[in-house]
């Protein structure tokens, strides 16, 4: 019977399963659920992680490898495309499952390695190379002596509520999501609860916005629900544009139905008949997955008019954001959706009372909305058990920069930052000491190694004057120059400033030019270059304060954050850049100075010929000399020298 099933079941049956209590499922339905969860499979299956970090390894090649292997061994093999487990640095991650046994996850696999692993697994042997661990589901036999996947250092200690199905299910399939208990919260809410009752649950759960500021969600929801209007909107802000943040992308690509269910519930609770997901054009895979997931939800009868015969109608539209960082700001998104330039507006009126087309609009980001099904499914009491007294639930973080294990982690509030870096991330790459963390992307602040014990929650972050942002965490080691990073972040802010208000438009430009003068060395030190630099650096903090207090929207207000915190924390390095004109990390390439080692120099002339500034003198077969006052620090001589005679100072 199992063979006859496909992993797409008909909508009516789905709805039946949705509205039934679990113990009442008949045997056939139970078998179907087991089939959809892939607890019971009849032939070997290979689970390919198909997300944007893994597609570069060539998914088609893996498919071909599996197919060839199947043909050689006269076996039918299922190939299932799944999302990502979150462990990005081990991509491509591949799951292998044979009937009756637990699923095995392998990382960093090549199409060449795959057949030999498949060979072994079919013979009931588990090769331990590249193994992440086994994932045991109900009615499966575990592999003996093989670690479980959640014992892997990256996963051990995570609380995966949002991420629990990422990398396990086919992301677009509504049936699979339902088999894992998805959409039940929505179906039951429609049938048994009024929106007021549900709103109370949200209020009790203490749900806070995950976009950084940590506002209580319920206040917004109440406002939207209580503003009299003929139409209301729910807007899911999926325009994740932080350089260095990718947790929402992984969630959208790996479990889009969770986000959709959250939007559905939010729409039902606030009484909105229309919802919009505003995601980025630059995330083509996330767009594709969300589109397909919406389609599946529609064909399962979970979207449209009179959903599950409750009288509630909802349509979710997917809009592609055409790429502007400022469109992460809630009023800017509204302008963009109305077909205008994505510029922020003055608040009040807040979108909750007067938003899209002047109708009340609930704006939340992906992560906040994805929490809603959990709260409704398990109740606010359960939800409040995780996290701290003031901040309940979990938070997604994306780890990037100089860290051993990159990826998306989900931790309960109250977890110290240290755990994120040292346990999940495996510490700084190559065992280097930690220099600092950058939390919150281009509008975030630096965290030094001394503050690393701070627990992640809104209270402690406020106390320590840190920014949580949307959850991007960048790790810096001694080889990174914070001044250069500050310059690049300011460059980003400057490019993305919408130009509406002067403090942001001109302030970012001024700060950028000051930072540029600090990190580069002009070819000649005459005129007022040096004076400009000194004057700029004494005024930079003042400028940052003005930007912070007078800008209209969040972008301008926070644009100077990295500079303000960086100036405090890296005073010494800043002074070295300004006065001594050296960069101790060697990143600000223009500040390097070079000297020729007379022992190694053979007088080959090559550096002299290649020097663009004509700063090297010497005659053939004699030791050459670099004239430091002419040298612009381009490093050309260093690159061309074959005798290792150029020393970087």
């Amino acid at each position: 019977m199992i063979q006859e099933m496909t992993n797409r079941i008909n909508p009516r049956e789905l709805q039946e399963i949705l509205l039934l209590e679990k113990p009442e499922l008949n045997q056939e339905q139970q078998a179907m659920i087991r089939f959809l969860r892939r607890e019971r499979i009849s032939r070997p299956a290979v689970f390919l992680d198909v997300t944007s970090p893994s597609v570069i390894y060539g998914i088609d090649q893996f498919k071909v490898a599996v197919k060839e292997w199947g043909e050689n061994n006269a076996l039918d093999v299922d190939v299932v495309e799944t999302g990502s487990l979150g462990l990005i640095s081990a991509e491509p991650v591949i799951g292998i499952q044979i009937p009756g046994r637990a699923r095995l996850y392998y990382g960093q696999i090549t199409p060449l390695k795959l057949p030999s692993i498949l060979d072994a697994v079919v013979r009931q042997v588990v090769p331990e190379e590249n193994l992440i661990g086994q994932m045991l589901m109900a009615s499966q036999q575990p592999w003996e002596g093989i670690p479980f996947w959640d014992q892997h250092p990256f996963f051990k200690g995570q609380t995966r509520y949002l991420m629990n199905l990422c990398g396990v299910i086919d992301p677009c399939s509504a049936s699979e999501y339902i088999a894992w208990g998805g959409y039940q919260a929505f179906a039951k809410s429609l049938r048994y609860y009024t929106s007021q009752e549900l709103l109370k649950l949200i209020e009790e759960s203490n749900l806070r916005g995950r976009s950084g500021s940590g506002f209580l969600a319920a206040t917004k929801w109440l406002k939207v629900a209580n503003t009299p209007s003929d139409k209301r909107y729910v807007l899911c802000n999926a325009d994740e544009s932080d350089p260095g943040g990718y947790m929402h992308r992984i969630l959208m690509e790996s479990n889009p139905h969770l986000i959709i269910e959250g939007i559905m519930l939010a729409a039902y609770i606030t009484g909105s008949g229309q919802a919009i997901i505003y995601t980025r054009s630059r995330y083509p895979m996330a767009v594709k997955r969300l589109q397909k997931a919406l389609q599946e939800a529609r064909s399962a009868g979970l979207l449209g008019s009179d959903i599950l015969k409750s009288g509630f109608s909802l349509d979710i539209q997917l809009k592609r954001g055409p790429g502007a960082y400022v469109c992460g700001e809630e009023t800017a998104i509204l302008s963009s959706l109305e077909g205008k330039r994505g510029m922020p507006q003055n608040r009040p009126p807040y979108p909750a009372t007067q938003g899209l087309f002047d109708k009340p609009t609930l704006v939340h980001n992906v992560e906040t909305l994805a929490q809603v099904p959990l709260i409704i499914r398990n109740g606010p009491e359960w939800y409040k058990k995780t996290g701290t007294a003031e901040s309940s639930g979990t938070k997604l973080f994306s780890l990037s920069g100089r860290i051993s294990r990159l990826g998306v982690v989900e931790v309960p509030f109250g977890t110290p930052l240290k755990t994120l870096v040292n346990d999940f991330g495996g510490g700084v790459r190559n065992g280097q000491p930690l220099k600092a963390l950058l939390l919150g992307g281009p509008s975030g602040k630096f965290v030094t190694a001394t503050q690393i014990d701070t627990p992640i929650d809104f209270e402690h972050f406020e106390e320590e004057d840190l920014v949580m942002g949307s959850g991007s965490l960048v790790v810096l080691d001694e080889g990174c120059c914070p001044i250069n990073l500050m310059k690049n972040l300011m460059d980003f802010n400057h490019q993305e400033s919408c130009g509406k208000c002067i403090p942001c438009r001109d302030g970012t430009k001024r700060v950028l030019s000051i930072l540029k003068s600090v990190t580069t060395r002009p070819a000649n030190q005459e005129k007022f270059d040096a004076l400009e630099r000194f004057r700029g650096i004494t005024r930079i903090e003042e400028l940052a304060e003005v930007m912070k207090s007078t800008s209209l929207c969040g972008l301008g207000k926070t644009a100077a954050n990295p500079v303000i915190s960086g100036m405090k924390l890296f005073r010494e390095e800043m002074e070295e850049h300004v006065f001594d004109r050296i960069c101790r990390a060697g990143v600000c390439r223009n500040l390097r100075s070079f000297r020729i080692d007379p022992v190694n120099c053979t007088g080959c002339n090559i550096c002299m010929i290649k020097c663009p500034e004509n700063a090297i003198i010497g005659s053939p077969h004699k030791v050459h000399i670099i004239m430091e006052d002419i040298c612009s620090g381009c490093g050309k001589c260093y690159e061309v020298c074959k005798f290792n005679a150029i020393r970087v100072l």
Binding site: S52, P243, K319, A324, E338, G339, R341, L485, N488
Partner: protein, 152 residues
């Protein structure tokens, strides 16, 4: 021009809020926008053409040049930045003698800075016509460009 009218006819006439989806769909099929297209859209949606320019130039996605035969995108993400994407950008600008958003005279290469491409584990990365090349170094940039130049 025919496909533009067929795209336009999918949307109701004179509804300004559809401007961005219309432009996106047109650019998906033509790969860039020009004056003619803007005029057509302006007439259909009943928006002044100058307003359309103001919207289209605001967003990073829309472009008014056709893009090179090889469109090079360099990741701007922090992960790549820390691993030296700045040098990659500088090297590309030096080799191709163009800046971001520009196209070489022979129409062969165009250059663009884009936000995170999502391959942070192999930083720094660039993408040439959608093909992602990982672990870039200035020396590798030279090689890659030379390779693509040869293929003409």
């Amino acid at each position: 021009m025919d496909d533009i009218t067929s795209i336009l006819s999918k949307y109701p006439e004179g509804v300004t809020e559809n401007l961005i989806p219309v432009l996106q769909e047109i650019q998906d099929s033509t790969s860039y926008l020009n004056g003619e297209i803007v005029q057509a859209v302006a007439a259909y949606l009943k928006i002044p053409a100058v307003k359309i320019y103001s919207v289209a130039t605001f967003y990073n996605e829309f472009r008014f040049n056709p893009g090179g035969h090889y469109h090079i995108q360099v990741c701007q993400g922090t992960g790549c930045l820390l691993d030296g994407s700045e040098q990659i950008r500088r090297e590309l600008m030096r080799l191709l003698e163009i800046g971001p958003g520009e196209i070489t005279r022979d129409g062969w290469f165009s250059l663009e800075w884009v936000p995170c491409l999502g391959v942070c584990q192999e930083a720094p990365v660039i993408s040439i016509n959608g093909k992602i090349i990982t672990n870039m170094t200035p020396a590798k940039v030279k090689e890659v460009i030379a390779q693509y130049r040869k293929s003409r």
